[in-house]
Symmetry: C2
Subunit: 206 residues, 2 copies
């Protein structure tokens, strides 16, 4: 990997390219072009070529991209040529759905543990998982070396959980609680809040 810093916004588009390429592969396709990829994603071909050129030379003028090869390269760039273990915090509806979610397979992730603090939920079975007591969360995460967590607890508890996760060594948090989290700058946080997405659309509805 080169030393130059790639803008966030470019890094943010790579997963979209990868998802489209993986779908093409599922369709038994072998070659694609920045043109076709762009049409599928709604981004210009020029932008895609420019983005990819930040990371190396992945295609040949006129022959396009070998899908398999480009998938491999983007997976390597995004550090998902390995599978990352994920801890889910919160065994409510969202946490349970995420823990059972089949969509992580082949995308670089697998949920390995789910925690909750509610005595009524601890020990319950969710898919293949037994809900663990969050009192042991920090220790268990430290011991297993898990570095990615998803927070699916109520908003009022999310910051406290985030603080514990940081203490446990978590470096990337996907937060489903509808609240902004404070975390040290070396810990990445991304957010999923469906109301935010919906509000971004109703603005345009008369």
């Amino acid at each position: 990997m080169s030393d130059k810093e790639i803008p966030n916004i470019i890094v943010g588009r790579l997963p979209l390219y990868l998802r489209s390429l993986q779908r093409m592969k599922k369709e038994d396709r072998q070659i694609t072009s920045s043109q076709e990829l762009g049409e599928r994603i709604g981004i210009s071909a020029a932008q895609i070529r420019k983005d990819l050129s930040q990371f190396g030379e992945f295609g040949k003028q006129g022959t396009g991209y070998t899908i398999d090869y480009l998938i491999k390269q983007i997976r390597r760039i995004l550090h998902i040529d390995q599978e990352w273990d994920i801890a889910v915090i919160g065994a409510g509806d969202i946490g349970s759905a995420v823990a059972r979610y089949k969509g992580f397979a082949n995308r670089g992730f697998r949920v390995t543990v789910i925690f909750d603090g509610d005595p009524g939920k601890i020990g319950a079975q969710i898919g293949d998982f037994t809900v663990q007591d969050s009192a042991y969360m920090v220790d268990m995460i430290k011991k297993t070396g898990i570095r990615i967590a998803m927070i699916a607890v109520p908003a009022a508890k999310a910051q406290q959980v985030a603080d514990q996760l940081v203490e446990a060594g978590i470096q990337a948090i996907l937060n489903y609680a509808p609240i902004n989290l404070n975390a040290p700058s070396n810990v990445r946080v991304q957010y999923i809040d469906p109301s935010i997405h919906l509000q971004r659309m109703t603005y345009y509805l008369e």
Copy 2:
């Protein structure tokens, strides 16, 4: 509302301001500043002032913003001074979690119907909802005038469902299926795909 077109990226930040303001209100706060709001969200105070100034004068120099008033104004701008009905398509884990999700309350939305095509799911009870047969989806959405839908079906079926929703008059789609959707330009689409968010973070993990 003025005639000038506000950039997407500014519209996209308003829901974040609103969420923070609503949280302050829950904490029984009455006045805030762009400074404080910025610290909570991780955006500069200047940016917040600039964004809000696109829509009008909401605060006074030196006295800050009245939280209640600013909430009301942003809700009006985002057209969530009303409650929007939402149709959920897909009664799997994600669709079920979304249908039962309490987080839409007070944020402008309520799920009013959930559809699935699987005979094993049609008629099942999910929270307060009975799963409806998606064979009647287009007609029911047309009749009820619902304009917002969430897609929570497998990727392979998502485009077909989206086409039906467009036919039914849906104007905003929140898509949980991990696939890019083609929709006419008058139909807004937003995406929730946790793997995409996770991949945006693993890039930064060594």
